[in-house]
Point group: C2
Chain length 786, copies 2
Amino acid sequence: MIPHEAFAVDPWCLREHAMLEEHHAQAESLFALSNGHIGWRGNLDEGEPHALPGSYLNGVHEIRPLPHAESAYGYPESGQTVINVTNGKVIRLLVDDEPLDLRYGDTTRHERVLDFRAGVLRREVDWVSPAGQTVRVRSTRLVSFTQRAIAAICYEVRAVDDPARVVVQSELIANEAMPSQSADPRSAAVLDRPLVAQEHAAFGARVGLVHRVDRSGLGVAAAMDHVVLAPAGLETHAESSPDLGRVTWATLLQPGRTLRLVKFVAYGWSSRRSVPALRDQADAALTTAVQTGWDGLLAEQRAFLDRFWSDADVEVEGDAEVQQAVRFGLYHVLQAGARAERRAIPAKGLTGPGYDGHSFWDSEMFVQPVLTYTFPEAVAHALRWRHDTLPLALDRAAQLGMSGAAFPWRTITGAECSGYWPAGTAAFHINAGIAAAVTRYVWASGDEKFARTTGIELLVQTARLWRSLGHHDNEGGFSIDGVTGPDEYSALADNNVYTNLMAKKNLLAAYEYVRRFPDRARELSVDEEEAAAWRDAALAVVVPYDEVLGVHPQAEGFTRHQAWDFAATPEHGYPLMLHNPYFDLYRKQVCKQADLVLAIMQCPEEFEQAQKARDFAYYERITVRDSSLSACVQAVVAAEVGQLELAHDYLAEAALMDIADLEHNTSDGLHIASLAGAWTALVAGFGGLRQDGSCPCLAPRLPPALTRITFCLRLGGGRLSVRIRPQRAEYLYEGERSLAITHHGRRVLLDPGGKVELPIPPCPPQEHLEQPPGRAPRPRSARGGE
Amino acid sequence: MIPHEAFAVDPWCLREHAMLEEHHAQAESLFALSNGHIGWRGNLDEGEPHALPGSYLNGVHEIRPLPHAESAYGYPESGQTVINVTNGKVIRLLVDDEPLDLRYGDTTRHERVLDFRAGVLRREVDWVSPAGQTVRVRSTRLVSFTQRAIAAICYEVRAVDDPARVVVQSELIANEAMPSQSADPRSAAVLDRPLVAQEHAAFGARVGLVHRVDRSGLGVAAAMDHVVLAPAGLETHAESSPDLGRVTWATLLQPGRTLRLVKFVAYGWSSRRSVPALRDQADAALTTAVQTGWDGLLAEQRAFLDRFWSDADVEVEGDAEVQQAVRFGLYHVLQAGARAERRAIPAKGLTGPGYDGHSFWDSEMFVQPVLTYTFPEAVAHALRWRHDTLPLALDRAAQLGMSGAAFPWRTITGAECSGYWPAGTAAFHINAGIAAAVTRYVWASGDEKFARTTGIELLVQTARLWRSLGHHDNEGGFSIDGVTGPDEYSALADNNVYTNLMAKKNLLAAYEYVRRFPDRARELSVDEEEAAAWRDAALAVVVPYDEVLGVHPQAEGFTRHQAWDFAATPEHGYPLMLHNPYFDLYRKQVCKQADLVLAIMQCPEEFEQAQKARDFAYYERITVRDSSLSACVQAVVAAEVGQLELAHDYLAEAALMDIADLEHNTSDGLHIASLAGAWTALVAGFGGLRQDGSCPCLAPRLPPALTRITFCLRLGGGRLSVRIRPQRAEYLYEGERSLAITHHGRRVLLDPGGKVELPIPPCPPQEHLEQPPGRAPRPRSARGGE
């Protein structure tokens, strides 16, 4: 599954030791660097060959029309799409008049390493030019976690055998020509030359460019400065034009001598600030970076990551690929969210243009759960971003005839950008996901200030939405009709179980928060009647059940629908949505992704244990996992119902999503939610973590192939370390007060600093479960792990 | 309701006696002339002022892209739209250098009359030019029912008080500048200059132009010739250029003298024939028309209509407006279908560009029922057109993963042009509608040749579709899930009652036909097993029922949905779809149009009489009639359940749809289905006509305000005349054999030529039914009829 010919298994880095044309675009995504504010794809220093050049700034987008063959009330008329901003990555090299270009000459050594602890991308190339001249290039690139406006590159070129006349050109390039994207609707729309030049200047080795995005009007400044160390005389020349900034150095390198260039790049952007203000903002950031220096930036980066890993590391003994992939995933989750700071966390982070750079429910339901326990600051920021968009969500709800807030299915700025409402607007569950993220974050962090400011308002406005979306039917049940649940092979159904149970949680949480913060409730105009109506609706919520089959239909009527004809579906017939009309998918029993199973994971208290197993077995047979959001959820519930080997298989699928390019679209950017899901599969799956009631519940249990898992959770201001072995689990809480947990249902009090070791009850043997033909996950045990 | 200031009530014509700016576009539709092959909107002879110039040829269309904000498998990528072809209507007049233009000078007399018996549009204008010169213009325009390629105009201009120097210009104009259409999705897309000139020629008083439609590639030839009669010396000049043909005459008219011009216009079009072939085709038709002469064309037209009215006239005593409107409607239904001849009958006929000129289910379910009993030749042609498109429908079904044929929801050529699948592709009931049209036509006409050729193939391929669309659920019922029924404020529901019952009829009809024509069954590869599977599915079809409420939900779960909040819906909030998202409409109890009520009308045998009344009362409360297809259906079932005054109100609404411009979009073209529905409201409503089993069933009953209704039906090769008075009904059958009918359930044998008079049982008093607030039809009785 892993393309071993290109990537090596290593616990703390992703290493590429061959440049393969067919992995080019994938590697650009895998080696992307980001801090959540700036994103640089792993394009080569010299710019070409490239698959998809990409430099992104969180929130910088262009507006494009959303065409509708038949328009209707409430359809968004324009969308937003992420754009490739000014490229600050490029450093071109000429060796005796021959440009370094791996398509020519001989590459005798190639290695790229994404180092999860150092937070850098290292590259080593030994290249023999067509004329026979050998040079050795070493570059190290970082996007700073500590100085969010800054990226930097240390670039070294060395003459190996003969004296070499080298020219190095460091560039800022705006409006790069982009390869045309595929017709796949999931890919971003191509936008041709979106940047309109405003100002450019060169001074010394410093160059700056300022642009405006054509239709969105956003201003973008990019600036670069350099520190160069050359063994001999050096000619320097700096220049700027509207779409190009360039500094050039020329020298003669004797064999064994090295030219070393450090390039600092700063970005600034705003929808409001003037061109001079933006220019100055970028220049100021640049000055700080230069002052910090390359070694300083490296040291800050390492310190930042040391802290992160000490809180967040996961160890997996017994499966080296998964060990690597989980750290890779966690590293990219951190990159996506660390410094987003009141901006969205997009589905693909800042690693590619996929999904137009939009943020979905993935953020709250897949990515934020991981950050909540590993880097909670990022969650507070991401939810504050949602809160900042509340005025748009209130307007959208009003436009739809609803109360409260209707957050967008997909967006960059907070405005709904979905062009297909049955799988967009109708997927109201995103609102319950936002509410769940609020309660989860507050529960884990104890951040009361957040709860009484941002948190309560998000809960109240989403509760209002649910109250207006649902109604009491003639049997008194609270029904929510005509909505779309998580499974995108169903739409517009009544009483989707996941939606209803998550709405229930949302309503109850709002009820609880208004009682906790009565003054805030008054400010939000919540009176007793309104709060009581939320509680009553929540307690009456309808959960359909199929008495004949003894399982929960994922929505009303689902289990009565025709079975999908899997026998007639060829292997190349997946993903089904590319070969079948929505019409047919929607009306048959086939799931793109976990839906009822996600309800079991998120609302464990609503299902009896035996029921969970029956439901899980039923949906295993019809879930095809055409969505990357599915495997991690199935892993968690498989583990819960004792299907430990299956859980291991699903964990591996989630973790290897991008390294193995399982959906063949990693080229467009990483699947951040699936990568986050790998952590969740370990921690909520094999660790059994749930937040049920007032204390963390754990129920650890390992699959046969794994001999040890350890992980940490930031909880209640302290850190809970969990070490799981086949027979026993060890807990250590480092915090100011004691922490109560449950271990396999048994309540345990953990005193600060004291280790507790507890036995793991044996797992009863399980029946083998069936997946749709050809859709079972790759069995992990057969491959033998390490 | 009727704009009396412009239109007068007259039993045999529609008369306009004032030109009002605000009625301009509406009048162009009302006064449109067509034979089903050519359509000319009622634009003024002199071309301007106009609201929307329109000359249409059935099937002549342009292709336009169908954009999708998010594309998906099976979406049509291009659509088709009717275009304004070469305008042959224009005759311009200069009076002493002043163009006749009603926007200038004084119009001292204006009258236009659409004469339903003569089949012409007459116009009389007395106009005083700004310089004070008075002329009298009389024109008569026809589109020939007997020579389908021909339209003609007799144009007379007379000097009244003073000698007048007049210049008359008769024109053919291609690529007229069109006013931009509204943003209403129901209006046609504007297409700028779709015609590409191929050839033009002028010779004597004859001019021809040939064009190709840019993207569809269709060839269109238009030619005109003239016969002119002038009292004095006449100068004639003919010319042609790529987009203009023009013949000019100049003369001096003494007071009281008249210049008389007869203009013959011929059209020819083809997707295959060459430019010379098309030119010659138009010229040949023109030669015949000139030979026939104006008086000959008038006489043929009159004879054609005399035959039609003797078979089809409906008399309504007691409501003069409805009398006029029903004849107006019947006349336009004839115009839409008479000579369509293996082309579609579009929703707006050839009267305007509304709905892009597409044909929908209206044709088979609203228009063809009327033509079946009044002009059955047109039905055979329309169904042969469907049959001609069978290859496309088979391909579409295969693309959707279904068997048999899936006919398009909207089309010109037979290819699906729907840009919104939940209210397009998913409305599979159109296929059952086509099947119903086949059985209805064969049943009424006895056309066995059609049955064994075209008919059986349409039935078999649609039955195959239903068999593959449905499935047997775990209780053995045959379910059809996830489809959209007639009501467009619901979508994608399971077991829509109308759809299921119509599918049942379709399956049983196919079963019956393959037994009747076993050789044809073999040719169509239908074996015993397949036929038995149709029958079994039909007999097991699921019809959901709400035991608590004692009514049929229009689809599974419908009656459990939240009630629409009518109290909060302001009067200007209709049509609801322009002010509310589909999302909210779909999930609530509100009907755009009759759906379950249509099932009662079409499948009367499936409902107990008391059940019909309960169901009707239930749906009355939630049906808002935002569709023009609703009132006529409600009229029929209202009459059946004894709500006779209400039926009268609905009849009037259907009949006056366009004359009173009830939906404010008659400007785009007439609502042919609603106009047809007025006939149906009378015949199936107050006449009670049903085709139940082997003989026609009638159950006549008049509402209080009407004193007599008479109508004729072409049945079994003969003609059944029905004369209904308050207490009794009289039947007369003129045919070769006896005809069995039922009268209020009593079987009666009608011998050829013998009158039978039967008493009408009294109607028990009925409760008053409620409609949504503000949505009751205008009460007829309060207005006092005549």
